[in-house]
Amino acid sequence: MDFLRPGSWEEALAAKAEHPTAVPIAGGTDVMVEINFDHRRPEYLLDLNRIGDLYAWEVGEDSVRLGASVPYTKIMEHLRAELPGLALASHTVASPQIRNRGGVGGNLGTASPAGDAHPALLAAGAEVEAESVRGSRRIPIDDFYTGVKRNALAADELIRAVHIKKADGPQQFSKVGTRNAMVIAVCAFGLALHPSSRTVRTGIGSAAPTPVRARTAEEFLNAALEEGGFWDNGKIITPSVAKEFAQLCAAACNPIDDVRGTADYRRHAVGIMARRTLTWTWESYRGTAAHTEGVA
């Protein structure tokens, strides 16, 4: 195995172009596990740790440009107001040591359905800034996950940053694991209210071959909220609406039985989380439209 150590972003792109099979490594919290378990012996490792730019973030007018290697700890500490859903998801990532190393770029690169950041990114709305020697492009998060541990990146592309919409309303994230900390998701759910567009977005993790949105559930809820004038009157969401939304979220799952849980349980749990996170975000919205932070 060759270890490539580019000193700059341009060198990294050149190396990736020259060795398309090279596996990028930053925090190493996914890649090193695969290597240590002998699941994977890549020909080349492409070390991105010398590229300082990847550890920086910028808060813009509408979105946050989050460098691919910004560790979860920094998101929790500095971006709770702008990215509340992702901050909550970051809290649930493994252990403090791993949160100090791992970042969203790695989650996206691995594209495991169990990655904790995905439901929050799907719910908030995001674009992945991918670059190669051929140029740069932005991939909408909805188009990014293409299969189990597969994504829309070309062989010569690297993830430079993620552009995540700043929260314009309350966001929540829930994850089920069979331990109260440091656990891989059995399933997870992200929800974001977008009062400015009067829409709701969702993200489901570990309950389908890829992270997915519960689109039918979103459409149902958007219509129900509009119809009842909820965005304006700030009423409590009708229990039947919340129930229907939860059922549609569960129906959006396409889970499997595995060592971490059964398909039936995953479907069931996503429904419960959908109902609860809707209640929490809506209560928060009703309380104060400016209050966007989740509770954790």
């Binding site: 378990f37 994230f173 829930s174 069979t178 331990r179 900390a181 069931h268």
Partner: protein, 797 residues
């Protein structure tokens, strides 16, 4: 032999001074505590030797198969590879080993019987080279049908896991795939059943738990000039290893010199051999030191696990709540090789009735041979599985009788003088009712602790930081359980220990050296031996020598026995040293003071004193240049085997009791559990080191909690392959899963034991699991007949 040529990272002697007296009953601190917390302690995996090679084991990828052929040529041809060995390369005719009888091949011969069985070993100059070479060994397997449970094991024409058995159980079992069976029969169950006003039955399932010690199996074998080998190893019993290793190597035991290296936990998982023989074989073959370190994945295949079990229980009671009878059947899955399964059967059977007075008992326990992973010793050893079942039964029966669950248990609790189902009288304190009273009397933690002015503190809720509930669906439950565990090796085993104690004057001060072969695996013998020496010999400075085979056997660090047995041996050796010192004193100074002849003399504060406190002489003056050294074996009172048909017999040395109260909060919609508090009351006879005792109780309690809500090795019933050999998917409790654990320690002396002490390490592991399950049942109203309980069991999905 930790001499001047010892490899880096091997233990050195530890000298413990003490500002205070530092004798028994004080909470002296572990000398390795700070090192372990700061990451500086040298574990067996940290050892290093110049020119050393790395060993690698090739393991079977299937659970049951005939080995058609093995081709090692490509592996041998790889640069950097020094040796590749298979069964055919073993140096002598002794090619099997085993703790109780040798049914385990050193390397697979013609057939593999479980997933991960060692097939070949490689030595190379780099661990990665060794790994790649092992991957180049070509093994052709022809898969065989797998045996995974009682039905498949005893079916007509079932393949035999071991053909031509010659072990001493083979003649007594109904089927060769039954390893051992032990009935316990007392009274008349049929007659008692007619007198019962209430009868409850239950079928319980206990999952396969792993010891999950943090330091994976590792060791270093160094070939010696005399043709022997020095083995530095993390184990639980050096001399039992030695007895199994030497014959396979074709060496006399004195040429296999073993030294304990830094042990990262054991819990029973280091009783059986792992890489010991493999490292020695490779070292002797290559003439170079060989180090082997398992990674976590391999560790899950490298040691035995706790027996999974099916338990069928029937209890009866009269309408005033007195137990009438028990009929029970306990089926333990021993996996492919025997390990300690037979002794686990003996424990499950003889302790299967729990700490209760039941005059009419019909229990049978048995262990199966299957193609599942081999199972053997783990903290609680057979008593754990039974406790899970009988405590569930007690709750059911109490409800049926209409009594409070704790009061029902107290009404039927055994006490000193109770006759066990084995006919053995309980001849020391058995404060079962009192322990239950104490845990029940403790104040309950306040309700809804997660609520604060700033919203819900999710860390206090089921799901924790995963943020699954802010109080929705959360219901509290409280449950109780109590258990009984034997202490020491049972059923007639000669369970002795050896201690060498030396006293001499160094720099004008009397100092004591204690040398035993006791494996310090975290239980705290390292402080206890020094404390005993200080108490008995009145010195401040005590040096504990590294454990090795240059001194006699200390027996196993298991069965809650080391403080009792090796502690007893150290006490005994100290007493003999004291007698010798006093003899010297009498010889030198006896004419100066009549008390030398008439008073009871003690050693205190470096002096010889009378029991009235009068100083007769300084130890420095008594000993001068002389050193007094004693090495002596010490035994607890003997036991006897259980009768093969009735299970009657004086089988156990001592019993140990603990009771728990669990307070849990369950998210009933998501099936997630937060254990809020696990209170424990335990009788330890005498707490030699109270801080260590509390640590043992909290550790055992936590291990039981893990078994209740998360810890399970999942084996595919179709292939008998392990599905979750990693800490990603074999979950153990984190600190956020670990509740407050108030501990109430009783000290009711056992007159038979040194200082009255009672082995303490295992009892809390028994009752913790059923207490948590009882609390979850209370919260959910579900029956929950299996452990660990998973979210899908609580949500019906």
């Amino acid at each position: 032999m930790a001499g001047t040529n010892a490899p880096l990272g091997t233990p050195t002697k530890v000298t413990q001074g003490s500002q205070t007296k530092g004798g028994i009953g004080e909470s002296t601190l572990r000398p390795d505590g700070t090192l372990k917390v700061t990451g500086e302690f040298a574990y067996s995996s940290d050892m290093w030797h110049e020119d050393m090679l790395w060993g690698q084991i090739l393991r079977a990828p299937v659970a049951h198969a005939e080995i058609v052929s093995i081709d090692t040529s490509e592996a041998l041809a790889q640069a950097g590879v020094y040796a590749v060995m298979t069964y055919d390369d073993l140096p002598t005719d002794v090619r099997h080993y085993g703790l109780e009888f040798p049914d385990t091949p050193v390397l697979a011969h013609g057939r593999v019987r479980h997933h991960g069985e060692p097939v070949a070993i490689v030595a190379a100059d780099h661990p990665e080279t060794a790994r790649r070479a092992a991957a180049k060994i070509k093994v052709e397997y022809r898969e065989l049908p797998v045996i995974t449970d009682e039905l498949t094991a005893t079916a007509p024409n079932a393949p035999l896991i071991h053909e031509d058995r010659t072990d001493h159980y083979a003649g007594h079992v109904e089927h060769p795939n039954i390893l051992h069976r032990q009935p316990i029969i007392r009274g008349d169950v049929e007659e008692a059943r007619h007198r019962a006003d209430f009868i409850v039955t239950g079928e319980y399932t206990f999952g396969m738990q792993d010891q999950a010690f943090l330091g994976p199996e590792s060791g270093l074998a160094v070939p010696a000039e005399d043709g022997g080998v020095d083995l530095y190893i993390a184990t639980q019993w050096l001399h039992a290893d030695l007895r199994q290793i030497a014959p396979v190597l074709g060496l006399p035991e004195e040429k296999v010199r073993m030294t304990l290296s830094g042990v990262g936990g054991a819990f029973g998982g280091r009783e059986d051999l792992s890489m010991q023989i493999h490292a020695c074989l490779l070292a002797l073959r290559t003439g170079k030191p060989v180090k082997i370190v398992y990674n976590r994945f391999e560790s899950f295949f490298g040691h035995v696990h706790r027996h999974p079990a099916k338990l069928f229980y029937e209890h009866g009671a009269t309408k005033d709540g007195k137990l009438t009878h028990l009929k029970a059947r306990i089926v333990l899955d021993g996996g492919a090789y025997a390990s300690t399964s037979a002794a686990v059967v003996g424990n499950a059977a003889s302790l299967g009735a729990g700490p209760y007075v039941i005059d009419n008992v019909d229990i049978e326990a048995l262990a199966l041979y299957t193609n599942n992973p081999p199972c053997g010793a783990m903290r609680g050893f057979g008593a754990v599985q039974a406790c899970f079942a009988y405590e569930a039964q007690m709750d059911k029966l109490a409800d049926k009788v209409g009594m409070d669950r704790v009061e029902f248990r107290r009404l039927n609790a055994m006490e000193q003088g109770t006759i066990m189902p084995t006919g053995q009288p309980v001849d020391s304190p058995a404060p079962v009712a009192e322990l239950l009273r104490r845990v029940k009397a403790m104040p309950l933690p306040p309700e809804r602790q997660w609520e604060s002015s700033e919203g819900a503190d999710v860390r206090q809720l089921p799901g924790g930081l995963s943020n699954t509930t802010h109080g929705e669906g959360v219901v509290r439950g409280v449950g109780y359980a109590v258990g009984i565990k034997n202490v020491g090796f049972s059923e007639g085993f000669d369970d002795y220990s050896t201690a060498r104690v030396r006293m001499e004057v160094v720099g004008g001060e009397p100092v004591v050296t204690v040398h035993t072969a006791m494996a310090e695996v975290g239980q705290g013998g390292v402080t206890v031996h020094a404390q005993i020496a200080r108490t008995e010999l009145g010195v401040t400075q005590v040096t504990i020598q590294p454990a090795d085979t240059q001194v006699g056997s200390a027996g196993s660090t298991s069965a809650s026995r080391q403080t009792y047995v090796t502690g007893g041996a150290v006490k005994n050796a100290c007493e003999l040293v004291r007698e010798r010192v006093l003899e010297i004193g009498r010889r030198k100074f006896g004419t100066y003071h009549p008390a030398w002849a008439t008073a009871e003399l003690l050693l205190e504060g470096g002096k010889v004193v009378t029991d009235a406190g009068e100083v007769l002489a300084d130890l420095a003056d008594v000993l001068e240049d002389e050193a007094v050294e004693v090495e002596e074996e010490w035994r607890h009172r003997p036991t006897e085997p259980f009768d093969r048909h009735t299970g009657q017999g004086f089988g156990h040395v001592q019993y140990s009791f603990a009771a728990h109260r669990a307070v849990v909060e369950v998210d009933t919609e998501l099936g997630l559990v937060k254990v809020i508090e696990l209170a424990c009351a335990q009788d330890v006879g005498k707490a030699l080191n109270p801080l260590s005792v509390v640590g043992q109780i909290q550790g055992g309690t936590t291990q039981g909690l893990g078994m209740a809500v998360m810890e399970e090795i999942l084996v595919d019933p179709k292939t008998a392959k392990v599905r979750n050999p990693s800490f990603t998917d074999y979950l153990i409790p984190t600190i956020l899963d670990t509740p407050t654990m108030p501990v109430d320690v009783l000290e009711l002396a056992d007159a038979h034991a040194p200082y009255g002490l009672r082995g303490a390490g295992e009892a809390p592991t028994l009752s913790s699991t059923p207490a948590v399950l009882a609390a979850i049942r209370k919260a959910t109203g579900l029956e929950l007949n299996r452990t660990p309980v998973r979210p899908e069991h609580l949500t019906g999905t």
